[in-house]
């Protein structure tokens, strides 16, 4: 399809990238129900790796089969489907060309006890290319004592991905000894985390919806000197988007823990109003029976569609 003005505008932020990467940015923005709007809803399924198949797929055992998620992403009109190596491989040939793919190239599990969190690299740019993916996804944990390892691995992967025309999407989840539990979603930390991902060269940045909590002492002082309206999620999303190169990077928000469908939709409305570029919804989508999950994804997509 022809480029809309909005997609054309977004592309100007990525004018330093090669045509290969620009093409894949368009593939992500021009697929599904939200094609052309500059908004995205993505179905990510790395829960099995992160929390095990029992907790992930117990509520809806059909989700054990990776093909289920391919089909759900296609049928719901999502912009893309994101998963680790194994599940992408199961359906990459079968569903070839039907939905843009994001290969999640690092992952963690919860069987080991680790002080300073650090995901393992579990796939590569070459895997993404041979499997027909448009993007790679990578998680960083700012706040972890192992952050340098993650940043440096990401640097190498990013360089190779850009050289070979892929899009880089960075999940930026603050975590580690330097942060309190509440601090992991604090608005100052969340905006900083989104900013770091952008500094590291991410095209798209994924963060959790920011809370009103403020974690760092220096942040409190900074807000006192230069107050910012942070009362509602809408306000905070606006602040996070502004913190990410003044809005010149696509920032999308995760759906977080599973909750009622109505709550999900309400949250997404706030994100959309605050200028968030989209949502990435996993558990809330695939832990419901297929009909319900499909409807929720479509409702969320509808929120962004009507937000324009």
């Amino acid at each position: 399809m022809a480029l809309t003005d909005r997609v054309r505008e977004i592309l100007t932020w990525y004018s330093s990238e090669n045509p290969g990467t620009q093409t894949n940015i368009v593939r992500l923005l021009n697929h599904g129900t939200l094609a052309g709007t500059g908004r995205l809803v993505i179905l990510p399924v790395d829960q099995g790796f992160e929390h095990g198949p029992l907790r992930s797929f117990g509520p809806n055992p059909d989700g054990n089969d990776p093909d289920y998620h391919y089909q759900l992403a296609i049928d719901s009109g999502c912009n893309a489907y994101a998963a680790p190596l194994g599940p992408i491989e199961v359906g990459a040939s079968k569903f070839a060309g039907q939905v843009p793919l994001i290969l999640k190239v690092n992952n963690s599990d919860t069987l080991a006890k680790i002080d300073q969190p650090c995901s393992a690299i579990t796939a590569s740019v070459e895997d993404a290319l041979r499997l027909g993916c448009s993007a790679i996804g990578y998680t960083i944990y700012p706040g972890s004592g192992q952050r340098n390892t993650m940043y440096q691995d990401l640097r190498e992967i990013t360089l190779e991905a850009k050289r070979k025309g892929l899009v880089v999407i960075t999940w930026s989840y603050p975590r580690g000894a330097g942060l309190s539990k509440a601090g992991e979603t604090a608005v100052d930390v969340c905006s900083y985390a989104a900013h770091i991902a952008a500094q590291l060269g991410a095209h798209f940045v994924k963060v959790k919806p920011p809370t009103a909590h403020i974690e760092q002492e220096e942040s409190k002082k900074a807000f006192e000197k230069n107050p910012v309206k942070l009362d509602t999620l809408e306000d905070r999303v606006r602040f996070v988007v502004r913190s990410t190169f003044g809005g010149k990077r696509v920032v999308i928000f995760s759906g977080g823990e599973s909750k009622g469908a109505a709550d999900v939709v309400e949250e997404v409305k706030e994100i959309a109003k605050g200028g968030g570029f989209g949502s990435i919804l996993g558990r809330n989508a695939f832990q419901r029976p297929r009909a319900e999950g499909l409807k929720l994804l479509q409702d969320v997509i509808g929120v962004y569609k009507s937000a324009g």
Copy 2:
């Protein structure tokens, strides 16, 4: 031989792999007594490395000679023979083309005291290719503080193996500071471990037969919310297979510690009924006098043969 419907079906799960890897999957599935059934019995001999030649081959000293195992695998009608570098090298030329080979590319010994278990990489994809192997085998210890090292090394080996047309078989043995001894074979942990191996891109996954023990608190809660029948080994095998991409990955089960031949066969019957794809029998096969070991392997193969 021509492909049976079952082998053809299994191949659809690996449709993203190149013809080289698909060819080697067929070589493993179409060899020996179980050729064409989609089931496998494999003879693995890495005990010497893991527990020393004395404990491994003391009961049947003929087993010190690697050629003994080549011949046993051939005569019993196994699908394949798996071993570390040294023993594969001894017979690779002598028995060339007579039985599919799986090169075990990482191994541990029990002379050193190690807190966080991690196998050493002891062979490579290039070794597998020059020795005519169809697959490489790799052990991960989910639960170990060194799991990231193992996952990342496996990622590199997997990528090279797939590029060069080999099959990747992952031994997934939960172990380490994060787990109790009973937890190493707990059904929640075992299914999670099989799932991780699949997520990491394994073609075939090897796990221990799961017990009814449940290790993680979160697992107990998850089973309460979404109950699953786990009373018999058959039930638990079914659960583990389902947890591994809804059955779209070949999951085989180890024979565990040496025991009576009748017990082995009974256990295998449960595994076969639960949909397990096969067994990998080491000590129970080669620690018996040759005639007994041969018979036991044939009996086990017979169970799968009659299970269809």
Copy 3:
């Protein structure tokens, strides 16, 4: 423009470099208001990475947008603009050829708690080349227990940069368990730090303005034996420049924490009189409203211009 005698003299200090690097040295020295004087004023914006967007851009939110800094550097007549990967990418195509670029290839954030400071490598020489940069910037922390890692990474980057015709600018900031807080800017430590950067092959060296504090016992003894006039900043700058190959390396000084515009200009006058080759002004430039920041940069440039 033709080379002035001063630029020609400076080039003799770099006569071992290839013509590619010499060309980029000229590009840096012959751009902006100070072109041809052998002095430089550079706009660096890595504050967002180091202290977060809130503290960095809260006073002047327009600074969230990397394009703002490109334009500020161009309009103020700076010699160059320095930033990490992400911000350079945003404007590299849009502003191509309008101002020399310095890609900052390593960076730290302040979300994690780290004992021995060490920046992560966040970009590469290849990035600098594909983005049209003239130089790479790298920070070392002499005094850190991780200094060897930083020196060795720098060695590799320096070798590649020189091979490919780039300029290497080293930020040398003493920091770590071996030093007191006051010692980080002590004149003995500062001169040592500048010297180390030069020993490691830096073309240009950036340090903080040295204080009159003397950190190391051996330094006190050394000054007693061979006294040096260190009373004023001018004296100390002269000592630091002399300590850097007798003045045969370009040494520039950071502006430090934000302060009154008049104070900044006074400090710069001392630096200029002491033979400092220039200033690198970040927070003091971009945390003010644009008109004020622009004027301050121009005033500072004016100081060097009139110093000749």
Copy 4:
């Protein structure tokens, strides 16, 4: 010379190796007084590195000169001379083609205090090739917490050595926190250590003569279940050889600490009777005056010669 039946038989154990490696195996087996017997006596001189020149060459200062050892190995009729990089380099050109060379590619010294022993890699396969060597020698310390590092480095070196037609000889010396001092030469540990070296792909394995001590609890139980005659050194050597692929790998035994010439010869007789493939004699040979050392080497060679 033409191959004897025994050498031809030994070669069948290495039928998976390329002709380059097979050629070098023949070079080692067909050189010196024992040519064609399938037995080997090797002169190794890495004592200088391991214990310093004073303790190593004090008793016979002529041994400081590497050429001394070349000449001793040649004159005594040894199969090969083994040493680290420096000494091999001194004489490699001068004595080119006069005696097969084994380049010892890792080494330890005794100036530092180390908890978990690990030799440094001090030479490479490329060094061996440019210096005309037939084999590389590598030491592993099973039982050390750093064993994985050693095994993995060995794996890479082994792969390259085999690719380029060299022979791999592994010194397997159990050592480290997991073992008592007596355990380092215990028969269960020694046989396990020889087995590990073979599993890792060694062509020839070097161990210390095993004592009657049994180190591991599991070993005691295993011997109770399946008794083995271990009374004499001859018995124990037979057990170690059997434990190394049922005798399908060449196992040679070190001479140990310096002692009376008669004791050395008596020990070697036991080794020869037990089926040991040879001896590797350092200190006992070069710490004596040349005439005595020469005679001892010839006597030891004579033992193997008459053992057939």
Copy 5:
């Protein structure tokens, strides 16, 4: 110039090296006042890196400029000038071909507190080649817990240097937790350290003048069994040279801490009588006013000249 008999003799010890390395050995031996004698005096200037510019160049500030040292080495008739990357770069083009250069490729500073000393690698063989150097210099600290890292890095650098025709000169300075302060220059440790450097493949070895102290218990016992005359520095130098392949490696001695010119010359006389191949004099040369430094270097050179 034609080769003297002595240089021709020395070359026979390096007959395994390629003609490129042999050529550079000749360049070092055939330059300056001592050309053809087989003795060398080298001017090394890495003090700035090791102890800072203040302590290094405070007594004679002209020494801040690297060109000063180039000129001093040339005018005094030294065989070579040795320095780290930065200073070599400053003058390499300006003084091209006027004096053989030794690029010091690893270095330490004294700003950080480190338990187990280890120099950082700060330059490479490629740097040495592009700058026209004849040799690389590398420091090892036998006795440090990090010695393996240093040995292994040196191994790689040595291999590359020899492949590309450079000379390898190893500074062997025992240091670390395993040694007392007095032990760092003890005659048993010094001779062991020189031996290790030679074992690692060094062409030339640099050590400190050995004291009569004996550090290790085993050394005392060894000297009791096999007494060696160690009363004078001459004796001890002779012992160290003998310990380094029986004199078949060039061993040179450092000048140590700054002291009176007469003391330096006296020490050098002992070294020359003991068969030391030369001296490497830094602080004692460049911390004096130029005329004095020049005279001292010439006096030292004179000692070796008259020693023949």
